[in-house]
């Protein structure tokens, strides 16, 4: 602000100013593009261009070394008819999204409501519950997860303490490996929790007081006030966490040494895409996989927006 006032002081009084020369108008018209130019170049070179190129590559046999040959929809046919690993990566990813996102949001909402009850030390609790979100996608935590869910890890130690002695390796067994990664995503419920907390804070106290006067109990108040008024936030969290979950990579990569094992049980979609593109250099196929992912995420998001009309309640009625 101080620089502005200095600027003003140095300016001549308005009356003395000459009318601006015509070329400054042209300069004005160019100014927006000047400010936009880095973004426009980036959009063209790093987003639009590559998107178009990957759409083309998805219909080729591009292998990074030779020029791509056009093969039509062969890649897409291969995915769904003759690539069992692809189909299993779809099942693994779908299971992960369908199980971990709702669980994560249930925990987020439950904890947000508990913390909203003006509990002592809310700032500390909020920090503790949020911390996993901050570090959850790091390699260090994935390493930790491998250790904790290993055959002599923390989980088995805890089970031993309550009398269940086991050397079951949770990450080493195809039946439970995916579960550990789902647990990791649920563990990072802190960031949607913070959004829920902010939403709860905006519900006017008077609504609850009025309902209490009318004799509504805890459950009734939760179902008739909290839930409806919170639906926009549930929707927002759901959309975001779903999109993020589809793209999960690090835990699957680290827990399984980049292989998606055991027995492809943690072969996430993105991990398989990485293997095809950067281990097998089957980059045409990887591009096709990427476009399927893009279309699926866009379609799911679109469907959710359409469905939201039936269950998301906007108090201000502007939508």
């Amino acid at each position: 602000m101080s620089s502005l006032t200095e600027e003003r002081r140095r300016m001549p009084a308005p009356a003395l100013r000459q009318p601006s020369p015509p070329h400054s108008h042209r300069r004005r018209a160019l100014a927006p593009y000047l400010f936009l130019s880095p973004w426009l170049i980036g959009l063209l070179v790093f987003v639009m261009g590559p998107m178009a190129a990957s759409l083309y590559l998805s219909m080729t046999d591009y292998n990074f070394l030779q020029d791509p040959n056009f093969i039509g929809v062969d890649n897409f046919v291969r995915m769904f008819t003759s690539d069992p690993r692809y189909l299993s990566s779809v099942v693994v990813t779908a299971t992960y999204v369908l199980v971990s996102v709702p669980l994560q949001l249930v925990f987020a909402l439950a904890l947000a409501m508990l913390l909203d009850r003006a509990i002592a030390g809310i700032a500390i609790y909020r920090a503790v519950f949020y911390l996993p979100s901050l570090i959850g996608t790091s390699v260090a935590v994935a390493v930790l997860w491998r250790t904790v869910f290993g055959s002599d890890g923390l989980v088995n130690a805890a089970l031993g303490a309550i009398g269940i002695d086991t050397t079951h390796s949770w990450v080493g067994n195809p039946d439970t490996a995916l579960m550990t990664i789902i647990a990791l995503n649920v563990w990072t419920f802190g960031s949607p929790m913070i959004i829920f907390l902010a939403g709860l804070r905006q519900i006017p106290r008077s609504y609850y007081e009025a309902a209490e006067v009318d004799g509504a109990g805890h459950v009734r108040r939760f179902l008739s006030i909290t839930i409806p008024l919170l639906t926009p936030i549930v929707f927002f969290n759901f959309i975001l966490q779903t999109i993020y979950a589809f793209q999960a990579f690090v835990p699957a990569y680290i827990v399984s040494n980049g292989q998606g094992g055991p027995a492809d049980s943690t072969l996430f979609y993105t991990l398989y895409l990485y293997q095809q593109g950067f281990a097998n250099f089957d980059m045409g196929y990887a591009s096709a996989m990427a476009w399927v992912l893009l279309v699926v995420i866009a379609a799911i998001t679109g469907i959710n927006f359409l469905l939201s009309r039936y269950w998301v309640f906007y108090a201000d009625g502007d939508r």
């Binding site: 502005l4 593009y33 973004w39 508990l114 949020y130 570090i135 589809f246």
Partner: protein, 305 residues
């Protein structure tokens, strides 16, 4: 696309409008009734944080003690050597990896703050043809999964000879490719009174001067948020570092941890956990220092933590 903003935000200043925490305890009896909830939440918090505490304490234990089946947090014998061994456990010492991570993060912050705020200024304040369309395009790119551009980008960087350097990780940031921050800054600039621009305009200031002397300085709170989240995301980013960097001397912290896991594997858990613990330290320090900005950034925009 307005739903991209968390519904909790009512414009950029939503953080300032937080209701003061209401004191809902009306009587001592209510407080007593809350004790079970307090205990429940405290137990939950402990369970949540326990694995991290366990990692920190195990990083000081000898390997034999880590897996002795004890969940004790206090090591029986402190083995500080884990840290020295881990630090020098790879071909390069860990200071190289930290330095690399910090260089990439610093460049990403500089690029994001400069070019995203420029684009945001144009979107929020300047008139140009098809502004609404361009704005919609910008919003559309926010949620784009990076896989859709991955292969051609890799080929492009390869042709440019940039693979195995920091350039693929930093140059795009100077071209405002993290569109999320454009959106964040546009929201904030819309909350800056237009009268300030108009007064400067009357004084003969053009867009460049308005941007440098009014908008950019007043954008500071949003720039801080942008810098924090760019740092966290870049520091945590494993995938693009994995595909673009192959030379150990250029390795970042996550890549070094992965290599540690691959080379020493199951034989040196103490040093492995020591380096893992250390690698989380910058994030924890950032969180402690900037907790307010991080919490506000998440609750008003849904920024991924």
């Amino acid at each position: 696309m307005s739903t991209l903003t968390a519904p909790t935000s009512r414009g950029p200043a939503a953080g300032d409008r937080r209701q003061p925490p209401t004191n809902r305890s009306r009587s001592g009896g209510q407080w007593m009734r809350r004790i079970p909830i307090q205990l429940l939440v405290a137990a939950g918090a402990l369970a949540m944080i326990y694995p991290v505490l366990w990692m920190a304490s195990s990083s000081l234990k000898p390997d034999s003690e880590i897996f002795s089946g004890s969940a004790n947090l206090l090591p029986e014998t402190f083995r500080w050597e884990n840290y020295a061994e881990g630090w020098n456990g790879l071909r390069e010492p860990f200071e190289t990896f930290y330095l690399n991570s910090f260089i990439i993060s610093a460049l990403a912050v500089a690029g994001n703050l400069l070019t995203c705020s420029m684009a945001a200024y144009a979107f929020a304040r300047l008139r140009f043809r098809m502004r609404a369309l361009w704005f919609a395009v910008m919003l559309g790119t926010i949620m784009l999964p990076y896989h859709a551009t991955l292969i051609p980008q890799y080929t492009l960087f390869y042709e440019l000879g940039w693979v195995n350097s920091f350039l693929p990780l930093t140059v795009p940031k100077f071209l405002a490719t993290d569109a999320f921050f454009i959106f964040l800054f546009v929201q904030f600039i819309r909350g800056i009174p237009k009268e300030l621009d108009q007064a400067a305009q009357i004084d003969g200031a053009g867009p460049l001067r308005i941007y440098t002397t009014i908008i950019f300085p007043l954008l500071r709170p949003a720039l801080v948020t942008g810098a924090i989240f760019t740092t966290i995301w870049t520091y945590n980013d494993f995938f693009s570092q994995l595909i673009y960097i192959s030379d150990t001397a250029l390795y970042t912290v996550p890549l070094a941890l992965r290599m540690f896991l691959d080379t020493t594997g199951e034989s040196a858990w103490g040093p492995m956990l020591a380096m893992s613990t250390l690698s989380l330290l910058p994030l924890v320090v950032m969180f402690v220092l900037f907790q307010r900005q991080i919490v506000e950034g998440i609750s008003t925009t849904g920024l991924k933590g």
